[in-house]
Symmetry: D2
Subunit: 310 residues, 4 copies
């Protein structure tokens, strides 16, 4: 089985959290969604992230959802759980709870209140104290957190964090940063960790693979795009990786819009049969008739293009 450690590669899909049309947590759809992802070849699942509506769940719901995902995945792929919290007490509590439920590790992003390099590094010293031996993924996502981490500070965190096994690289633009961190690992200046990218929602995936990324950790209603692009690239067919990527790009671009993107994704996952309802909890966007027309056109064009590609 795939393991959540520094050797991780492939596609860790950021999953949505399925609700019923009435807004209740939908555990049946949770099973269906896990199957949908695994059938498409993902090598890991990341739950309770921003796009998983984590903050809209009660503590009980978060645990029930985690339990269901872990049970359905049944050890076939690692499950990583977002545990970023306003305080360390809550982060520690949630971490213990999800590890007890069988999660493989956790993911942490810095809070918007840290700014200087010293503040950022100091924050992750406390994360390490809080998490203890639990393997974790460092999420670098300035668009969401407002925290800009230079390559220097990321290397500093990696040096101080023996149980950090992965970097979720989501800075945008971030190609130079990715190259710098990979180079430091190759030169032995720092432990080599797994780097999965989510830069702009995966919108630079082929270029990032060429820079040494081990795969992707992001969400998209067509997980097979990322799985196939990563496979083609790993197999040495870089042009094929780009061809596939380009075929999905117009829709991926549309789904990655901030705010409305989650509604687009759930709409598409619902259309594809992965979840029973596209319901998004408040506060959340609703799709307009114009949005739906845009999406229909993009899906139709994508199908045609993929058909041409073969």
């Amino acid at each position: 089985m795939h393991r959540f450690d520094t050797s991780a590669k492939g596609v860790y899909l950021i999953t949505v959290t399925p609700f019923t049309d009435g807004g209740a947590l939908d555990l049946a759809s949770t099973d269906r969604m896990v199957d949908f992802c695994l059938e498409r070849g993902v090598t890991g699942l990341t739950i309770l992230g921003i796009m998983g509506e984590a903050t809209k769940l009660t503590a009980e719901e978060a645990k029930a959802f985690t339990r269901q995902v872990v049970q359905r995945a049944a050890g076939r792929v690692p499950i990583v759980v977002g545990v970023s919290s306003p305080g360390f007490a809550a982060m520690g509590e949630l971490t213990r709870a999800v590890m007890d439920l069988g999660a493989s590790g956790v993911m942490v992003a810095p809070p918007s209140t840290v700014r200087t390099d010293d503040q950022i590094a100091g924050y992750f010293d406390m994360v390490n104290e809080t998490l203890g031996p639990v393997p974790w993924c460092l999420q670098d996502h300035p668009v969401a957190t407002g925290v800009q981490m230079s390559p220097a500070v990321i290397l500093r965190i990696l040096k101080n964090s023996p149980h950090c096994v992965m970097l979720k690289h989501e800075d945008w633009p971030g190609l130079a940063k990715l190259s710098a961190i990979r180079a430091a690992g190759d030169k032995g200046e720092v432990r080599r960790v797994s780097i999965l990218t989510g830069n702009g929602g995966g919108l630079f995936l082929p270029e990032e693979l060429s820079r040494g990324a081990d795969g992707a950790m992001t969400g998209f209603a067509w997980p097979e795009m990322m799985v196939d692009v990563v496979a083609a690239h790993a197999g040495g067919d870089v042009e094929r990786a780009h061809d596939l990527f380009d075929a999905y790009l117009p829709l991926a671009r549309y789904e990655q819009q901030a705010g409305i993107g989650l509604a687009v994704r759930k709409h598409l996952l619902h259309q594809r049969g992965a979840i029973a309802s596209p319901f998004v909890r408040k506060p959340g966007p609703r799709l307009s008739a114009q949005d739906l027309a845009d999406i229909d056109r993009l899906v139709r064009r994508q199908d045609k293009r993929l058909h041409e590609l073969g």
Copy 2:
């Protein structure tokens, strides 16, 4: 007894959360601190705010602390609980829990993610849905939240929020805003709610009382300062209110420093016997020898000045 409604006045003290030297929640000190506040004449207590280290508590600790405060206060003053949360599910859960424990109402600040007037107003529509009939206080604290609410948007929220009974006015500078909102209430453009101020940690209290504030909701190791200033002002002796205020101002200024202020406050409350330990949970500041020397000097000078005032 004092009630948490639109007629509220006086001083709602923002309390600290006492820990032992080892960092555990200290329920014995909680009782002592409640007594300390009530003996000094406060008319309400606000717990689990930023200065109450709310985010550093586990869910169980937050409830245990709330239970203890409510029991010790024993109905003598209303207890208001900060319930600002990253999501409405958590806000609703905490609200139900603390109201069940006997709290009088809750306090909500907007999240840093809302920016435009429409976003802010829309956010509080969802707060109203979440809180239902629970009386609540609107916290306007841009320095902490990054959200700037114009007088127009505050009036809009008040119009849409039948159960909002109080504005905690903490914008800085905020005298003109306070005047504008009070004027709108006096002209009947909006329901008159209680306005308690915390502007700069109470550093404009006498001026705010002259602008129509009903009192203060903030923290300071000498709650009697605010109680006495409000009483003198209410009694028509504005110069006496200023004299008292000025005597405490040098130390209040020092205690209101961002970051280190909480450590100063707990140190002073410990010195005054209100809590058993000045312990602040991480992440939190530590006082240096120079800080302690500053504080000693300021306390000594304050004692002298108060003695002269009589």
Copy 3:
């Protein structure tokens, strides 16, 4: 000739400012670049924007460049000049200078210091006072300014600004906002102004044209992409518009990266013969060997795709 008024449509290209390899303003390349743009069918030029390195020019250089562009364009297309400034004195000075040199109008974005709807609207009242009868374009670009303008506040500005003739729509995501503003114009709630889009650097151009945008105002080393997409869309061939757009999208996406994007654009314009040197003044990014390899691949793939499209 095309006029800079509420009827404006087509493509207003955001131009770069050409320098020599030594970093001096290159007026010969300025002529070549103007010709390059006009030969590709743009209907206007916008100079001294963020991507025009406006803040890196001395006052004299800004005027010399404006003079050169105006003279070379020779009345064939309108020239719009970015005049956003930290203060109104400088804004007024620059506006008078460039209008005297023959510019058709100016463009203004709000400063990062305004936050509430009232502050934003109040700021543009002062812009109107400063600009007087000069026609101007309102730039809504939150990613660069940090200012979020709701549809309501944009409509309020348009109502108060008789000489505002155009909205440069650059919010992201911004399709719903574009629809809302266009609808208000169609219903007569507000004067209909020209709306040119730059959303994400033009990355949503076909969808925005379907929402009623009159064209694009953004930069890209292939201005003919926008010209052809707008023409196809205007001619009713929406699928052709998408086909063209999709062919350019992988490279456009790469060129629109924040920070490094300008270096990519100048590199490509240099390769295409539009400017003599790709020099970017400090502070500015430099392209790495990996960046150049990415670009070469994307250009080659784009050429192939365009050839297939015919």
Copy 4:
């Protein structure tokens, strides 16, 4: 005469820029204001800062005002000019202009766009290139700039900047930072530069002097407060320094309010005869009747208190 170098001490007053009631630059009042400051014992003048309405002046006005101040001061005290600019071309131009007019040096704050330690340090490398041998003051003012500079990054800048002679320390709270930077200078880890404080508008002046500050660089309508506090402290009478400070604190606190503070200061300087008109250019606050009543009371109380102090 006092020199603008690393030995600078005392009070560098941040001056206002006087206008006539009609809004024109008032050069006659400029002379009067310079005299007013020098008569009260300041050891330097800092012009064209935020509180000098620098961004509201045309380039010609900025030069005319600088020329007048330099001529009137006639070499008795150094004149430092704020030259923070959106770009280095403008910064270099303004620096050359004011040095040619006889200024003693310049002051630079980082732009709000730099965030990480590397970005901040890199920015000041370019400042050094731009300024060449001109002596300059590093302004650390997070409340205005949004840039948080850790002690580590300030020391790094000082090491890289042979012509930086002074730190204007305006972080709030900033006592620990001041102590750390002073300690590094005392240990020889970095060149010892002059540190003048403006923390919260001088609201921590006595404590900062105890931490090793060489004086103050800030504005207040009673420059003699800072002059006398610094003198008492330097003379070893720390209690007297506090007594004086405390007497002015209630009004200083009021004048240091963001936004409205400049109008308060100009009103008071007008009342004291230092300038002919309290006019503030747009965008700027206006004082209400309630503000004026507050100010009258505070001035009256301050006079009484100073009289008691003797």
